[in-house]
Structure formats: structure tokens, C-alpha cells
Symmetry: C2
Subunit: 384 residues, 2 copies
């Protein structure tokens, strides 16, 4: 298998943006291509991670449209859809394309345009991720998040305040990230006094609806020096699926797909959880960051919330999580997120993350979460 390097990355600011999906993908893609110094090169393939271009934006075959719009014809172009993990899956597709030897210079972009869809319609579209029987019983993604939080709190004797500290931390990080949807710090009281979404989750425990796009340029590791002095290598990729129905899971506080995916990624990368210097986890709800930080192996089960309380996952802590602000503060344009996580890690590993830089970071890990944890991707990156 050929080694695969990230030689360029870029993204739009996330937020409520006055541009369409294709425009967002174009902006992020051109930024990544420019960053790679590859504007004059012929690209072989494009993978676009996107969940709802047809449902929300009236575009299908969006990857071909992007190839046309940015002048990368006749590059092969495919859209990869894996719910909110579409971005991570697109990175994996790009990885496979280069690793297999079928393509050399590959663009991976992820994007979603969500804010111009009315909330009710958006909720309907996003609910297509749920098991139909659970949806019929009233489940929504936030209500499943709330049930998970309640179950976790009871099982491990954790207070809701500890979980909500994730939002405080991630807003603080977001305030240091010029690409974040929210660049404003909040207090624990702000979270606790925000409107209820689904008890115990309040508005500030939940990620916003955002527009945005992010992109990467990949090439064979042995050719990276043609483009950059600071290549970042995709060392490990793990991807696993769990039962869709949350009620069928033995212990819903354990994300089995994450355990399998991270095990595969660690093995492939030849690293262990303790080797990871910085991580981007999928904090669509605050509780998800806590649970993921355990199932990815950073903390023992039931210890993730304590780690937030004790500062271990804050910038300057033992294993900073979501220095970008995460989904909570950077925002969560569904298909963009998995790519944006890897853009952030690339910046971190290159030492280009500005005021939110994790000093000396050499190994980064991302978790992108699809459905309600029924499809999870883990990527492990290393600076060369």
C-alpha cells in the first residue's frame, strides 16, 4: 500500500453564509489547491463528502459539478455520502485512491449548505438517518443524545455540569479560531441557563446548524516533497458500522463502532492512544465528546467527564480535544465536518494553528460520527 500525504488544506469560515453549496466547495477547494502549490497541476480525482445536496440544495452529481467549476477536468469525480460522517468517508476514499495507485493527485472536499432550509424541513431530512421504528416512536438525534447523557450520568455517577464543561472548553477554543462559526467564549452558567432542547441537553450542549466547506490535497507520500516541506501523513484509517437501532445496542453508553474503528486505525498507524497529541472528536452534543474520548482509548469508561473537569482535554492539557472549537463552536455543516477535522489536525501538526496551537503536536486523531454512531471513521495523522 502506498503511503498517502496531505500536501494542502483549506476551508471556508463556517457559519450562516450567503453562498450556495457549490460556491462553498469551490472556495475551500481553491484554498487547498493554492496551499499545496498545485494550481498548475492536473488532478486525477475528486471526492466530495456531502450528506444532502439533493435534498437541501437541488444538486446531484455535485462532485462532477465541482470538477467543472474549478477547472479540474477530466478528473474522476464522486460524491461520498455517509450521513454526518460523509466528510470522513470522503477522506478515506481519497486515501484509497492514492494508496491503491489508481490516482496520484487527489482533491478531497466536504461541504454542506444548511441554513437556508426551514428548520422543520431540515429536521425531517436529518431524521432520515434514524431507524424508522425509533423515529416513529418519537426519537430525534437530540433526543437520542439526551437519552445517552441521562444513561451515562446515572451509570457513571456524573453530574450534567461536568458534561456541559465541554461546551465551555470548545467555545473557548472556537474564540481562538478565525474559521469558527462561534468565536465567543461562554460560561457554564450560560450553558445551564440556555433553553432546553431535550433534558438534560440544553441549547449550548448542541452544535449549531452551519454552512461551510473544507478541502485537502493528497498525493503519494514519496512525492510529497515536490509540493511541501511539511507533509502530514495519513497513517491510520479505521471505519466501522454498528446496529442502527440504539435500542438494540447492549450498552448504548459504549460506541462499539468507535472501538472497532479506532482499534483498526491504531494498528494500521502503529501507535497507541497515549501517543496521540491532539484530537478532533465529533461533539454534535457535549455528551458525545465525553463518550468518544473514552471509547477511542484516551480515558477509562466513565472517566471522560472528570478529564474535562480537571483540564486534561483543554488547550495546554494532556490531550487537547477539539482545539478548533469542535462541532460545538466551529460549527457542523454535515459533510464538511470530517474534512474540517483533518484540516485542523494538519494545521496543528504543521504548527500553523496560531493561538490555539498544541505545542509540539506530532500525532493527531479524528473521529467522525455518522447516524447516531452507527458509522464511525477514525483517522490518525502524523507529521513526517
Amino acid at each position: 500500500m502506498r503511503g498517502v500525504a496531505i500536501i494542502g488544506c483549506g476551508m471556508t469560515r463556517f457559519g450562516k453564509l450567503e453562498r450556495g453549496l457549490v460556491d462553498l466547495l469551490v472556495e475551500a477547494s481553491l484554498a487547498a489547491i493554492t496551499d499545496a502549490g498545485a494550481s498548475e497541476r492536473g488532478f486525477d480525482a475528486i471526492y466530495v463528502g456531502n450528506m444532502c445536496s439533493g435534498e437541501l440544495n437541488g444538486v446531484t452529481g455535485v462532485a462532477s459539478v465541482l470538477a467543472d467549476r474549478i477547472g479540474l477536468l477530466p478528473a474522476a469525480a464522486d460524491r461520498i455520502e455517509n450521513g454526518p460522517a460523509s466528510g470522513g468517508s470522503a477522506v478515506k476514499a481519497g486515501f484509497m485512491a492514492v494508496a491503491s495507485g489508481i490516482h496520484d493527485l487527489v482533491l478531497v472536499a466536504g461541504g454542506e449548505k444548511m441554513t437556508d432550509t426551514p428548520t422543520g424541513r431540515l429536521a425531517d431530512v436529518i431524521s432520515t438517518l434514524l431507524h424508522p421504528y425509533e423515529y416513529a416512536c418519537g426519537a430525534t438525534l437530540p433526543s437520542l443524545g439526551a437519552l445517552l447523557a441521562r444513561m451515562y450520568m446515572e451509570k457513571y455517577g456524573v453530574r450534567r455540569e461536568s458534561i456541559s464543561l465541554v461546551a465551555v472548553k470548545n467555545h473557548k477554543n472556537g474564540s481562538l479560531n478565525p474559521y469558527a462559526h462561534f468565536q465567543k467564549e461562554i460560561t457554564l452558567d450560560d450553558v445551564l441557563n440556555s433553553p432546553v432542547v431535550a433534558e438534560p441537553l440544553r441549547l449550548y450542549d448542541v452544535c449549531p446548524v452551519s454552512d461551510g466547506a473544507a478541502a485537502l490535497v493528497l498525493c503519494p507520500a514519496e512525492r510529497a516533497s515536490e509540493f511541501t516541506d511539511t507533509p502530514v501523513i495519513i497513517k491510520g484509517v479505521g471505519h466501522a458500522t454498528d446496529v442502527q437501532s440504539v435500542t438494540e445496542r447492549d450498552d448504548p453508553t459504549v460506541l462499539s463502532a468507535l472501538r472497532v474503528a479506532s482499534e483498526k486505525a491504531y494498528e494500521m498507524a502503529g501507535v497507541e492512544p497515549g501517543d496521540v497529541d491532539v484530537a478532533e472528536l465529533h461533539d454534535a452534543f457535549t455528551i458525545l465528546e465525553v463518550v468518544q474520548s473514552e471509547d477511542v482509548g484516551f480515558f477509562r469508561k466513565g472517566e471522560g467527564a472528570r478529564a474535562v473537569e480537571e483540564g486534561e482535554t483543554w488547550l495546554g492539557g494532556r490531550i487537547p480535544i477539539n482545539p478548533s472549537g469542535g462541532l460545538k463552536a466551529r460549527g457542523h455543516p454535515l459533510g464538511a465536518t470530517g474534512v474540517a477535522q483533518i484540516v485542523e489536525l494538519t494545521w496543528q501538526l504543521r504548527g500553523e494553528a496560531g493561538r490555539r496551537q498544541v505545542e509540539g503536536a506530532e500525532v493527531g486523531l479524528s473521529v467522525n460520527f455518522g447516524g447516531f454512531g452507527n458509522s464511525i471513521l477514525v483517522h490518525i495523522l502524523e507529521r513526517r
Copy 2:
């Protein structure tokens, strides 16, 4: 790059079916897994080719749902969307997964459930493939097909009857295919007297709206003998993109993306057009089979219609095209088609195609066509 073998295949009958999308994918997948003798094996990954699961069927993350439904957890699962070429792109994704070494045993499925969507709504969804400016000017896929036919007839001095013979041939082939949507022969007069869709295309020049699914099992070529004595090898893969806007093309009677994609596939496979024994082309409109048979290198430009007239592309001819009945008679459930083409070629190369068998076929080629030719995939298969 590791060699990749097809070790199992299966499909549903195509047509107006009383089952949902996931049920169709399940049926085809289980048929392919059974055919591979892999029912007791653990699968590593699943790729689903599908264009409109969200828009038409209210399901996103359908690949994860399929993994769950057929008991292939924790296999990685992704949906690949590339318009009507989604199936071909899913086959390519499965190929890359095995070729790269990241996955060993891989299921590729393609499916679409279309017939329970009202025609007007379906037309709206399919029109999301068009360039927005051309759509605003009244273009639809059939009207673009009609313009192409008209331009081709004038440029090369071809009569419409010659083009419509494609429908007669493909219905004859479909009458020999128990999986075909239409298993009934038609005459040239039937085509010429059928209702006008967009002059010169009449109803029988145009593929039907169908439901259906098809599936393949792939593994590394060196492991194929664990499963089967008749592996079929994916020798060449080509995939290219053209401008979306048909009016921007130098010569719309030439499918540039097909020329690039087929050149790549021939080079990778180490074969030439004259080596191909059987082909499945994307005859969504009769004119498309004619044009593709030229741009893929079987005939000189302007000679494709004559070849149909002279029997060269019929069963028993020099290069039989669409022995399955093609999109015209087998049917065209969008995301299923690219996979079904490769299922048909696998049966042909194994000598299992029954009354439509192309005798002694050793090399097969498929063309899957996305948008209005702005994304095209070519696969070349060889029996070992």
C-alpha cells in the same frame, strides 16, 4: 496495486417492484454473497451505488443500514453518488478498497427505487443533474438526448430508423434475460409509431423508469480460488469528467469523458477495443448506445448506426452490445445500472448467460454514464 477479482454476483429482477430500496439492496446482496459462497465470511466493507435514496426514499446513510440488515457488521459502509453512474462509481470504490490493501472481502451493491414516486416529482429530482442555466432554458435529459440524435443524424447522414434499431435489438436481448424489466420483442414499426417524447426520440427510444438492485463480491485476485473456480478480474478502470453544460462542448456528438475514460481503462487493462468480446453500454436513449459504441473505439465516428443495421452489435455479431437488454429493456434503476452491467458481464465471461450467451467471451467492457455524459466510467473485465 493488488489484482481484484469478482467472485460473486447477483441481482433482483428489474421492473415495477413492490419492495422498498433497502429490501431490493438486501435481495441482490444476499444473492451475490451466496453466489460467492461467502455467507459465513466476515466482510470488510460495503459500497452502495445509489443516486436518490434521500430524495425518493427518505433514507440517508443507506450503506450502513444495509450492513446492519444483512448482518455484515462491523463492515465499513459508504454510499457513492455519481448521478446515473453511481453504480459504476461504487464498483470503482470497491476496486480501490481491495486494490489498496485496506480491505479484503468487499460487497458492492447498487440500487434505486423509483416507481412509487409521481412522474413530475421524479422529473424534478432527475433534473438536478442538469446545468442550472440549461434547465432554466427548458432542457431535460430526454430533450438533450433528442438534440444529440438530431445533431448526429445531420452531421453523419444517418436516418432515425438506424438509431431506433438499437431498441429492437435490445428488446430482443431482453426477451432472453429473466432479470429484464421488459422481456418482450418489439419491431422497428413499434418504435417509430410509439408516442413522441422529444423528436426524434419516441417512447421506445427511451429507457423505462425501473426499480431494482444488483451486487458483486470482490476480493484480492490471489485469494479468488478460495471462493470460486471462475473468477472474473477487473483489469481496467477509467473514469473521467466533462463540462456539465452541453452547450459548452466543442462537439456534442463526441463524448469526451468517454474517450478519456476508455483510453485509461484500455491502457490499464493492456487491451484494445478490438479485443473486447462483449459490452454493456449506457443506452438510456438509443442514440447514446450508438455514440458510445464509437467513442469507446468499437467503430469510427458516424459508423455506429450502420454497425447496428448490419448486425455487428447483435448477439452473434462481431461485438455484441447489451446482451442483457441494456437500460432500454433490462431497465434503468439509476444507481443499480452500473453494477448490473458488471453482473451481466460476469455472467457472460463465466459462460452462465443462458440463451443470451456470447460464445467464448473472454473480455467484457462496460460504460456507465452520469449526468448527460459529464461523468463516465469504463470497466474492463477478463475471465482468468
